[in-house]
């Protein structure tokens, strides 16, 4: 890389030495690659009990409970204007698709349902809870997590 400065009588060739620049770039890129986080983290919205209830809102005519059990099943219980109890196998993705469908159905049935209450037995791990929360997110209903 060279440039000519000035007139022909006082011309001067300048060579830009880019080797130290390359050195700096190599160190910087290595540092940025090492410190970069490649995990893409997402979030489930949930509430603690008593948080989402608006005192001015009409009382719900239907209640939905989901309880995750130690035997890797999730029980969906609907009480009130609609009565239903369904069990889903957490190990079986096809079974969990049924939970997706039920949540979508609850959305479309125009029930006065304010929230879905999610609970689990003591030995159920967070992985199973996250699995179920992902499927409950199919509906727009807020999920309340607690000990019900």
């Amino acid at each position: 890389m060279s440039s000519n400065f000035g007139n022909s009588s006082s011309s001067q060739d300048v060579d830009l030495n880019i080797t130290p620049i390359i050195d700096c770039f190599t160190v910087l890129i290595t540092f940025l690659l090492a410190s970069a986080s490649f995990l893409s983290i997402g979030f489930f919205d949930a509430y603690t009990p008593g948080a989402s209830s608006d005192p001015n809102s009409a009382p719900p005519d239907t209640e939905a409970f989901v309880k995750i059990k130690n035997n890797q099943t999730a029980e969906l219980k609907i009480k009130g204007r609609k009565h239903l109890t369904l069990t889903f196998d957490l190990k079986n993705p096809d079974s969990l698709k049924g939970l997706d469908q039920e949540m979508k159905k609850l959305d479309s049935e125009h029930l006065k349902l304010n929230q879905v209450l999610l609970s689990a037995e003591d030995d159920v791990d967070y992985k199973s809870v996250a699995d179920v929360m992902g499927h409950l997110s199919q509906s727009d209903l807020p999920v309340v997590v607690g000990d019900f």
Binding site: F25, F43, A130
Partner: protein
């Protein structure tokens, strides 16, 4: 034969710009401590604003990366729990956090008391450990909880 490093400099410049842009756009970068393995999750949402971070790992409960309470193989011992089902050491830390927020809110009208908290939990943490954490959070007005997972 001389090595043409001008094109290499071009590539490095593009890489550097790309990495620096990624770094600046990820201001709300949240990462669990090493050893904490988040579960995978579907239908997740993105985090738009920062919130108080509570991490549940194999050995302890951390608030904003500082150790608060001990866990033995993901479980709380009986001495770490109070009668009302909350965790006294976590309550103490949350009290301090609330006091700090109130102090800031007093002098700055745009700052409001935050009801949001982020839970970064290892996938093996049992619900028995999560329940008292949620109770402590609820008792301190943290009602809007974001559960972190790895996007599938």
């Amino acid at each position: 034969m001389s090595l043409q490093i001008t094109s290499m400099a071009d590539i490095f410049t593009i890489l550097l710009v790309f990495l620096l842009k990624g770094l600046s756009s990820d201001a709300l970068q949240i990462a669990p401590s090493s050893g904490t393995q988040l579960p995978n999750g579907i239908n997740t949402v993105a985090l738009t604003e920062p919130a108080l971070q509570i991490e549940l790992s194999k050995d302890g409960i951390l608030v904003e990366k500082s150790f608060v309470s001990e866990l033995a193989d993901y479980r709380l011992s009986a001495k770490e729990m109070s009668r009302d089902g909350t965790i006294p050491s976590l309550n103490e830390r949350l009290d301090k956090e609330r006091a700090r927020q109130k102090l800031i809110a007093q002098s700055n009208d745009t700052v409001k008391i935050d009801s949001r908290a982020i839970i970064l939990s290892d996938q093996k943490v049992p619900f028995a450990t999560m329940k008292p954490v949620l109770r402590s959070l609820a008792a301190h007005g943290y009602s809007d909880i974001k559960f972190a997972v790895v996007k599938e």
